[in-house]
Symmetry: C2
Subunit: 199 residues, 2 copies
DNA sequence: TCGTCCATCTTACTCAGAGTAGGTTACCCC
DNA sequence: GGGGTAACCTACTCTGAGTAAGATGGACGA
């Protein structure tokens, strides 16, 4: 019997299971309010096992974040391959992102609730997620755009990431806004600028 | 003698002093790593006093956040009065913001490190800060722009706030970027859009 | 000058939850 | 079947948030 209430479980499987449970608990209760005892109990294992596999509470969160980040990267990167031009690439990437945050709310929740940890190793880890996204965008832009100075390009990429992050959070409060609509809003400002709408 | 090591102190003064110290400790160590014992000691008072005045660790953080928010609001609102047009208003507001985050690093640090508290009362408090800023921008825009649908306008405001927040964090890593330059970068994307730079 | 009242302040605790020391048991493989 | 080891557990320590109950300085009236 491979299923049922099998006790002993190989390391890799157990880790996956722990990460899955932890992702749920962290995103439900928030990092601070979540307790290692509770996670351990839900997994059906004792607390020291969590520490055996992840070293610390923060380490466990880190594993969850890495997991989510990998998915996000995969999704957005895949979305932009084969884009016709800059506008198309940007639109595809944005759409993939907004779909991701809708379909994987818990994962997204972790990626944004990070900050609990400023000054700790996990902060770097989350910052790394943003860097991943800004790098992707910067790469896109260097491919499609005339390069002004590098600093300006970097700033623009940061700008896009921040804007989308915020818009995504706004979307959580607005179920009626579909990923497609959100993408439209984003493209509207990003691509054409606010000037076109001035009176 | 009003100064020196006067012990007993009126409630209002003591509160101000506590907030000041707490702002330093929170932004230096991060919320999680900061201890109430340490703050109490630095203030030169015992821990129960902090609880007497602020009820909880989170309450103390909250007081700090409110303080910072008030300053931010004051600064940005003042900056936009008497602007000639939409572009001018936006530029003035942005500049005021980037100056604020440079000159009051600790306050800004608190405003962004909030998230430690998702799911708790303080989260609402911080979200309120953003709402304050988005409202300000939305108001600006409704004054200067043709109103499309409201949802779109709201999304645009969120977008601007998120983008600037992110750019501000980026600025922390780039001392060589002055508030003026940052404002330029932001205006460049926001106002004109990315289209103009496409190859 | 001296009591008296109360806001300010303190000592000395409880308690939850992160993290750990050291021993136990199921499973794989010869 | 019997090592050997990876998976696992019980039973602790320790830090830091939060609190109960009492001490004390000083303003103010008599």
């Amino acid at each position: 019997m491979t299923t049922a209430k099998r006790k002993r479980m190989p390391r890799a499987d157990r880790m996956r299971q722990m990460i899955e449970v932890a992702e749920q608990v962290f995103s439900a209760r928030g990092y601070a309010a979540a307790s290692m005892d509770e996670i351990a109990e839900l997994v059906g294992v004792s607390k020291p096992m969590l520490y055996e596999y992840f070293n610390s509470k923060e380490g466990l969160l880190l594993a969850c974040i890495r997991e989510s980040r990998a998915v996000l990267r995969e999704v957005t990167e895949q979305a932009t391959v084969g884009a016709a031009d800059a506008e198309d690439a940007l639109r595809r990437g944005l759409l993939a992102f907004f779909v991701f945050i809708r379909e994987r709310r818990q994962a997204w929740s972790l990626l944004r609730h990070e900050m609990a940890l400023i000054g700790t190793p996990a902060a770097d880890e989350v910052e790394e997620t943003r860097r991943q996204q800004t790098d992707l965008i910067a790469a896109l832009m260097s491919g499609y755009f005339d390069s002004g100075d590098d600093l300006r390009a970097e700033a623009a990429a940061e700008f896009v990431v921040g804007a989308c992050e915020r818009l995504a959070i706004w979307c959580e409060r607005h179920d009626e806004v579909s990923p497609e609509t959100a993408t439209g809003y984003a493209m509207d400002v990003l691509w054409s600028g606010l000037a076109q709408r001035a009176r």
